[in-house]
Symmetry: C2
Subunit: 499 residues, 2 copies
């Protein structure tokens, strides 16, 4: 139709086509919700329609979505949100007094006492104060200024905004941004969208995915030939690799950032998700300040947190914040202006964040239940982390680093040449071939390592080890209950594709 | 400090400064939350600290933020949100059955039955189905496909995403986007951010801010000299001008878009806010389809709606959607990929949107209260619209077009040369000078016309006529209760700055 002449006027086809759309958008890739996940959704539909499969449900181990995977919301958080949504419940004696007090305080800070009003673009002031107090407490008293806190629509929003501020220049002067490989693909996607240059530095799989400053320097020096490196992004605890950085490593990174005149972005959304013995979360800010004024008064940094992970797992509310440190005041003015265009982050997400940074205290009625629920979630996660590592290392062809933190593991799969050739025949990257088979034959949905980046010739997958059906929440004695057999079968198949 | 040498290494100043930040961000302006609003916030602080002023409160007439200005939330919406937040309330017999049914349906569509789970990036499927049904009903049965619906973080998010898809090319090939003057500054801000070319077409103040195709053509032809015009943006009902477009005008615009091969963006967030007799909201989609297949199967369009305006005014929830029509399927795939990077719009906002498009029905227990509340809000708005126009036209130096829709008026102020000179002395745009005086002396916070654009040599302001303290919700007999005197005094002052 669109190619025919209408009233003698030839139609020119679509105004907007893939050939004339924004080329940066075309370069964006986001594997966590990519083709394998789309196929998983189709398979779920087929199962509902009665199509016979070797399994009865798809286990979605592709995304860190705790509630979708059976984790229950924390009662206190949801009570306060219900009170904020429908303040008539303040009269209801089923709600504890501390929940009411929190809701009243939040509503008092909202225009017209309603979470339906826009907030200040930077976020509600008293919530930013609570965030600053939380950071101070977390970091052993190092001061935090509420004016440096920007509430956001999940951490992703703040990360993209911060990157947007930093990108400038053309050709060899274009801003380069250092990101780890493997990485969380929000970063590569945002850089593609902004037309910035991605500088890849590799984490050391042999050393439990640790970060080595020599590798940072190698990547930086190579990049200086073709762009202007200005930013260093770190994810700690790591996504997709689940490692937790040592204090020493963080110090080295900060020293490197200062020497090389880089803006630091510290993605710390898994700060409560640390499980391995001997591991501890150290915030970049705390280490920065402990290194003395030579560092704490010069190194520019933004750090990010979210309501989506840790023990809350409230992804749907899109709550988050960033703290900026040593940011030029004029740039801050520009940042504040930029975020004002989108008016404000969702207010229910801001309210939720307030409860996370200001949870029930020991003398409050909700404290006991809150702590019990929080501890139960974190213990279950720790147990799953332990089992994940143990079980994977029992599967032939798979090697798995210790799962120190976050909600992921990024095991390596050894695929023989035969399997690699088979994948190539089908026009697939070998790890995509493996993950697709695992999905089609066993109903387990993973994201192939190629979606996060990996060293040439190595193959991995990211597994989110949250799903209850993957690793039941009961205490487990045998590895079989981890649906290990599903991995066995597919892995063996891939090892011997002609059998 | 940062300029000194530390350990013999000279510091190079900040990594990120206004001189080396993203130049597009520097070009972004958003007057609705600009300097005048920042001053208003300061004044509020001064009042709280006991500073004496000629007024006791600041009346914020700068932003369409209904709840902040005293409008009460609709009970049904908030009941369902409370039930979704804290499903334990399902047992509570204080909640009507239809509210529980809605909450259960929404939760059933959420991963793990929790609004804390991520949704599909395009939005929850059953909510997209409800949106499609709402559009079909609104447009007299013209079909709407849920696959063409994208839920969003307020309408702003969807508008920016759509513009981002459309922008490409360099130099004279750079995408040009036609926007009305006066405009809602989200558009100019987004275009600056994307580095697109803004093509201004002027609304006709003499004809009640109507849109004239001859002016569209003038603007388009002029722009073709220096860019590639591809997009035409329309706001109906108008922001900041409050006009409602006639069916004939919409037809003309659609014909123009087809002839000139432009992608249409119809911002229709005020679709329920139509007050003037003889005015009616016509959706661009309905008119497009009534023009026959020659148009309905070729003209590419996106239309936008939000939970922030109309009778709901739930700005803080950041709910919204866009419907795309005749979009190239490959571009749609790119759009879906692009929105997946941010994971999903806030789920509480999606839930709220579901209630807006699927409100209580006549046979349901909440219907009577819902309708009563909805009607009360819309009648109060209609009355305020009428009074605003009537009262402004009684102030010397101010002329005000009929307020047909939305929540704004954009009156013209006649400033004598003396006042204009005085403004220049102070280094201010004359309408900014007027608004700043009105704020300092009377405590009324408006946005100057220059923040929206206006014809050279004319001066305006945008007034949001929602604030209860500006126009009390009681029935009003005298114009004085509209705080008219406050406008008188300042206007007279500006007319005679030497008095």
């Amino acid at each position: 139709m669109s190619q025919q002449a209408v009233n003698g006027v030839p139609c020119r086809g679509k105004v907007l086509t893939v050939d004339n759309m924004n080329p940066n958008v075309k370069r964006v890739e986001y594997a966590v919700r990519g083709p394998i996940v789309q196929r998983a959704v189709q398979i779920e539909k087929e199962l509902r329609e009665g199509v016979k499969k070797p399994f009865t449900e798809v286990i979605k181990a592709n995304i860190g979505d705790a509630h979708a995977m059976g984790q229950k919301p924390i009662t206190f958080l949801r009570q306060v949100l219900a009170l904020c949504s429908y303040p008539e419940l303040m009269e209801d004696n089923k709600f504890p007094e501390d929940a009411k007090k929190r809701a009243q305080r939040i509503l008092g800070a909202c225009g017209g006492h309603s979470i339906g009003a826009y907030s200040a673009s930077q976020g509600i002031e008293c919530i930013r104060q609570d965030v600053a107090r939380y950071i101070e407490k977390r970091d052993g008293g190092i001061p935090s200024n509420p004016d440096n806190i920007y509430l956001s629509t999940g951490a992703s929003d703040a990360i993209v905004t911060m990157l947007k501020l930093l990108v400038c220049g053309e050709g060899r002067d274009r801003t380069g941004v250092m990101i780890s490989i493997p990485q969380y693909p929000l970063y590569s996607a945002a850089l593609a969208d902004l037309g910035a240059v991605q500088i890849s530095y590799y984490l050391d799989e042999e050393k439990c995915w640790s970060l080595d400053v020599a590798e940072l320097r190698r990547a930086l020096n190579a990049a200086r030939q073709h762009c202007n490196p200005r930013v260093l992004c770190i994810i700690n605890p790591g996504n997709p690799t689940g490692q937790v950085q040592s204090r020493q490593c963080i110090e080295d990174v900060i020293r490197f950032a200062k020497e090389e005149h880089l803006f630091l972005m510290a993605d710390e959304v898994y700060q409560d998700n640390v499980y391995a013995e001997g591991c501890k979360f150290h915030s970049f800010k705390k280490v920065l300040f402990e290194m003395g004024p030579e560092y704490s008064s010069t190194v520019e940094m933004a750090s990010f947190h979210s309501t989506s992970k840790c023990y809350m797992g409230e992804c749907g509310f899109r709550g988050g914040y960033m703290e900026v440190i040593n940011m030029d005041p004029e740039v801050k003015t520009q940042l504040t202006k930029l975020v004002s265009v989108r008016l404000c982050p969702p207010v229910p997400g801001q309210a939720l964040l307030d409860l996370v940074v200001n949870p029930p205290q020991p003398d409050e009625p909700s404290y006991a239940t809150f702590m019990k629920e929080r501890t139960a979630v974190l213990s279950a996660l720790a147990e799953k982390a332990r089992l994940t590592e143990q079980i994977f290392n029992a599967v032939p062809g798979i090697t798995c680093n210790p799962v120190q933190g976050a909600m992921y593991t990024f095991p390596r799969i050894t695929l023989p040449q035969k399997a690699i050739d088979k994948a190539k025949e089908e026009g697939k990257v070998p790890d995509m071939y493996y993950c697709m088979r695992l999905l089609e034959e066993e109903g387990i949905c993973l994201v192939p390592g190629s979606g996060f980046g990996q060293r040439e010739g190595t193959f991995h997958f990211r597994l989110v080890w949250l799903p209850a059906s993957l690793l039941p929440p009961v205490h487990i004695q045998t590895s079989k209950s981890f649906n290990l057999m599903r991995f066995y079968v597919t892995t063996l198949y891939c090892l011997n594709p002609d059998d």
